[in-house]
Amino acid sequence: MYIIIGGGGQIGYYVTKGLLAQGHEVLLLDKDPRRVQTLTDELGSAVLRGDACEARTMDEVGCSRADIVIAVTGDDEDNLVICQMAKERFHVRTTIARVNNPKNEHIFAKLGIDITVSPTKTILHLIETEIPHHTVIPLMTLRRAGLGLVEVSVPPQSPALGKKLAALKLPGECNVVLIVRGQEDIVPSGESIIQAEDQVFALVKGPGEAALREAILGSASS
């Protein structure tokens, strides 16, 4: 896939690095020449100095053949415009925006941005929910679909311990997609057995998250 990223801060840097490692064609744009120099030393030709809001720049980097445009600058108005320009002028199918002010999340959704990622909201949510040691941690929210990817680690006193996944009777709104046990990644089936300290990843929608919490953490958790 060809992925263009606007904004070479910490998030832009690590996302670019990760996507390059996965073998994607990635271009990272930043306006600041000094930052671009530092990034180029690390990431080579995947970095270019330019403003992702400028149509001329986006034209030059072949935006119309990009599969995804990701906007992760520190300014919400810039992230919004990067995504809207990519969509309207270059017909990019998928746009992802970082939302710095959590209040802007619903505005971005209303204005046609496909996916919003709000680190602020995630951190706030973590603080709200992190007080008990074992909890359901939201990793990513796919606003349009109303879906979330969540992670929960199985406590030693979990009611799910030693049970098959199918026996947990999770609703359709909760799909366990991955179990990480130590170094091992398990793509689960209904026969998979839950053990203590497992990291369980699930796609949830609406009441699915509460159902997962109750099954793994017990009803006392909420």
């Binding site: 149509a55 415009v81 320009m85 002010n101 209040k103 505005i107 204005l111």
Partner: protein
């Protein structure tokens, strides 16, 4: 009419005083308190300090009762986002947005925003002035600029 003007620069302040003199209820928003010094002592409207793309600031400025919203900060993207919030979230009947970049102007006009692009307007005024003055200088041989 209740008019909210975002950005108290030269254009914002001048427009605010114009509309105030014409008898409208004017509120000006700017993130810098100093910017309000551009307003005359006779200005009878309100000033609100804050970030114009923050819903709470817009509500403090009374956007829910506004008939007109004008975005004239010096950032194109800020104007674009504020105008879209005014239109989409608060359904202000008349929203006018300044965008310097002609390409962004084109895109957001297509998306239905009312946009004024000073770059295009200014260049056009220069072109007309050059044409007029050339015609005056050498009436018979003046080249036509197209």
């Amino acid at each position: 009419m209740k008019i909210i003007i975002l950005g108290c620069g030269r254009v914002g302040a001048t427009l605010a005083m114009m509309m105030d003199r014409a008898g409208h209820t004017v509120t000006v928003i700017d993130y810098s308190n100093d910017a309000f010094q551009r307003l005359d002592a006779s200005f009878g409207g309100q000033t609100v300090m804050g970030d114009g793309i923050d819903e709470e600031v817009l509500q403090r400025a009374g956007i829910e009762q506004a008939d007109v919203f004008v975005a004239v900060t010096n950032g194109d993207n800020r104007n674009i986002m504020a105008s879209q919030i005014a239109r989409t979230v608060f359904t202000v009947p008349v929203v006018v947005c300044r965008i310097y970049d002609p390409i962004r102007t084109e895109v957001y006009q297509k998306l239905g925003l009312e946009v004024i692009c000073p770059t295009l307007v200014g260049a056009e005024l220069f072109r007309k002035s050059i044409e007029k003055n050339l015609a005056k200088a050498t009436p018979d041989t003046a080249p036509k600029i197209r």
